[in-house]
């Protein structure tokens, strides 16, 4: 009986503590901190793990560079990696875990659009910045002051590809879309189709496929019967590689296009020689980038032994932007909430080209939603088994 009473007392005492007003975020100040912590949330397991791996490497490179250069105002930057497995249910748990850890000042992530959307309400409630280096879904930044991204949106990307075909590759008259039947593939497809109709590109077929399916010949055969000059694959690299390969077996000679989801070295290994001549758009390509990016690529190879990809570069920049914000705004006397807010305010103030952050992937500045404005898309082409920047780039969109 006495034990129960003691138990009861403890429960009661702790509960009373919990009853006190929730002022932890505002009144308690942080003691002098030697480390500044930033979380990186991405899929390190699951089907998108290949992306997560590069994100982690890109982030680690920036962390190392910052700390070797003396840290942020003398304080060490520490990254905490959290795995969302590319699933939204996991992502919301991870978001809660991060948002309520009062040592974490900002979040770089998530990668999948659905994960960014799952985290959005939680980050908003807790008041912590979510800066995505990979979510291109149109709606990711809408309705929250705390969500940003440093790359373009799907509607821009779809529009861009349609206009690129229309303006630069003028001999391609009819196009077909072959899209992954999920949020990414469909969103991109819809943007592409809308723009194709607007600018008068002749869309002859639109077929879907499911991820994890590995035989695409049925759909490819019916696309072939429509005889398109170009086929836009709106999906991810692993399926795209197989599609290109099987399309050649099916006797399709059309020009292939892909978007940023195809932008992975694995595309080349899977497709083999069939990948030759495939065009793809990407938020960034090392081939068309400046010396700073080449330097980053060299450092990346030194550290990790592999060449960086687009996602590594974008994460590298996202970590850089957060570090930059911390350097300019971090006040060790202020509360966590204020410091988190200061980062947000700093990012939100990057709203003109002059204010923008100049990273390896180009100039990043935001509109009112937190979407990146006017960041160009690049076009790459597969030549001799390598991604190289296409000869002609498209700079201006209608």
């Amino acid at each position: 009986m006495r034990n129960w009473l003691i138990g009861l007392l403890i429960v009661g005492f702790v509960s009373v503590l919990g009853c006190q007003p929730q002022d932890k975020n505002t009144s308690e100040t942080q003691k002098a901190q030697k480390e500044l912590k930033v979380a990186v949330a991405a899929p390190f397991t699951g089907n998108a793990a290949a992306f997560g791996e590069m994100i982690k490497r890109g982030a680690e490179l920036k962390e190392k560079e910052i700390n070797e250069a003396g840290g942020i105002n003398g304080m060490k930057l520490t990254l905490l990696f959290e795995d969302d497995a590319g699933k939204d249910a996991e992502a919301s748990l991870v978001a809660e875990r991060i948002a309520n850890n009062l040592q974490i000042l900002a979040v770089v992530g998530h990668f999948n659009s659905s994960c960014s959307l799952a985290g959005k309400p939680i980050y908003q409630r807790a008041g912590i910045v979510e800066l995505s280096p990979g979510s291109t879904n149109v709606t990711v930044c809408e309705g929250s002051d705390w969500t940003f991204r440093n790359l373009y949106r799907d509607d821009f990307q779809g529009k861009f590809i349609a206009q690129y075909i229309k303006k630069i590759l003028t001999d391609l008259e009819s196009v077909a879309v072959f899209f992954d039947n999920d949020d990414y593939g469909r969103g991109l497809r819809n943007a592409f189709v809308a723009e194709a109709e607007r600018i008068g590109l002749n869309l002859v077929a639109s077929e879907a496929y499911d991820r994890d399916n590995t035989d695409f010949k049925a759909q490819l055969t019916s696309i072939k019967a429509k005889g398109p000059d170009a086929i836009f694959i709106s999906g991810l690299y692993s399926e795209a590689g197989l599609i290109v390969k099987q399309a050649r077996e099916t006797g399709i000679t059309a020009q292939f296009f892909g978007a940023d989801g195809v932008d992975s070295p694995d595309f080349l290994t899977i497709a083999g020689s069939s990948a030759e001549g495939t065009y793809l758009t990407t938020p960034f390509t090392f081939g068309a980038a400046d010396a700073k990016a080449q330097q980053m690529a060299a450092n990346f190879e030194n550290l990790h032994g592999v060449a960086p990809d687009t996602w590594a570069a974008l994460t590298y920049d996202a970590v850089g932007m957060i570090a930059d914000a911390l350097e300019k705004t971090y006040n060790s006397e202020a509360s966590v909430a204020d410091n988190r807010k200061a980062i947000r305010d700093h990012l939100a103030s990057l709203d003109t080209p002059e204010e923008g952050y100049n990273g390896v992937t180009g100039l990043t500045y935001f509109d009112l939603n937190g979407d990146t404005v006017n960041k160009p898309a690049y076009v790459k082409i597969v030549k001799d088994g390598q991604f190289t920047a296409a000869d002609q780039q498209l700079r201006e969109l209608d």
Binding site: N181, D212, D215, K217, Q219, K224, A225, S238, L242, I252
Partner: protein, 298 residues
């Protein structure tokens, strides 16, 4: 018309693959009335084992293929021995849940060992006949790789051989006896456990061949067994579960239905077509198209 012909060929190749997998389901079900969910995983392991033998150990393809069959046969036998045999007299639900657990465990084991990243057989390690550029040219620019011809032929040959085995040999007779009534078969001096083990061995070896063929044609991933397995299971149900010839025909029908559904109706529902057929068959005619209507099909 050319498109129609090409789709038929696509469907036949796919159907041949399904048939090879479906046999494994149908044989096991015929004898111990268990849906061996893990059969799809055996198929996947077949592909990975051959891939590892070739890429890591440098074994030539024609050695790797039979070796992979043998290893998968052992795996199938072990699976029966460890997981299913102790449950022979337990409620059917227990065995079914065990099968699901087995499938789950094997699939994620593969994911841990080999990661989710799709892998391919490197071109230079394959016999030249299996390379996709070696193909019969079809009118309309399409090609039919010899590899795909090989898949259909192999499916046919193995089916005939299996049929002979079941109807002409002693062990085949024992299998049929066990399928009809395993208790009575046991009383007649047939060692049922051995017959069941042999069933697992044959089914798993055929599954391994199918796995390698799919690996050659497409890619090797940890989930390949799941998706192909479900369609193959639908084929087994369609053909009348327990009926080997039926499983083969069912495989071809499912393959064709999937291809034509995706090509002419709606590509988004491609994977759903097998489910629709399967549900329709179970609800309307549980004994399948080619099965005997025994009345009690549980």
């Amino acid at each position: 018309m050319a498109q129609f012909l090409e789709q038929i060929i696509n469907g036949l190749v796919l159907g041949g693959i399904y048939a090879l997998i479906a046999v494994g389901y149908t044989m096991v079900y015929g004898i111990i009335q268990l849906i061996n969910f893990a059969h799809g995983e055996i198929f996947m392991f077949g592909a990975y084992i051959a891939l590892m033998l070739i890429t890591v150990f440098g074994v030539p393809f024609w050695v790797a293929l039979p070796l992979s069959m043998v290893l998968c046969a052992v795996l199938g036998m072990l699976m029966d021995l460890i997981a299913y045999r102790p449950l022979r007299d337990a409620p059917r639900l227990s065995a079914l849940i065990t099968a699901i657990g087995m499938s789950l465990a094997l699939q994620n084991l593969a994911r841990m060992i080999w990661s989710a990243r799709p892998r391919q057989f490197p071109d230079e390690t394959l016999p030249t006949i299996f390379l996709s550029q070696n193909a019969i040219s079809l009118p309309g620019g399409a090609t039919l790789p010899y590899r795909d011809v090989f898949i259909i032929l192999l499916a046919l040959v193995l089916m005939v051989a299996l049929n002979r085995l079941i109807y002409l040999t002693k062990i085949g007779k024992a299998m049929r006896a066990c399928a009809q009534n395993s208790v009575a078969a046991n009383l007649m001096g047939i060692r049922t456990n051995r017959v069941i083990a042999i069933t697992f061995i044959i089914g798993s070896a055929l599954g391994a061949v199918a796995g390698v063929m799919v690996g050659l044609r497409e890619v090797v991933t940890p989930t390949m067994g799941y998706y192909k397995g479900v369609a193959a299971f639908a084929a087994a149900v369609l053909g009348g579960i327990g009926n080997i010839t039926g499983a083969m025909l069912g495989g071809i029908i499912i393959g064709l239905a999937e291809v034509f559904g995706a090509g002419y109706i709606s590509s988004g529902y491609r994977l759903a077509i097998a489910y629709i057929i399967m549900i329709a068959v179970i609800v309307i005619r549980p004994s399948g198209l080619f099965g005997k209507s025994t009345g009690k099909r549980a």
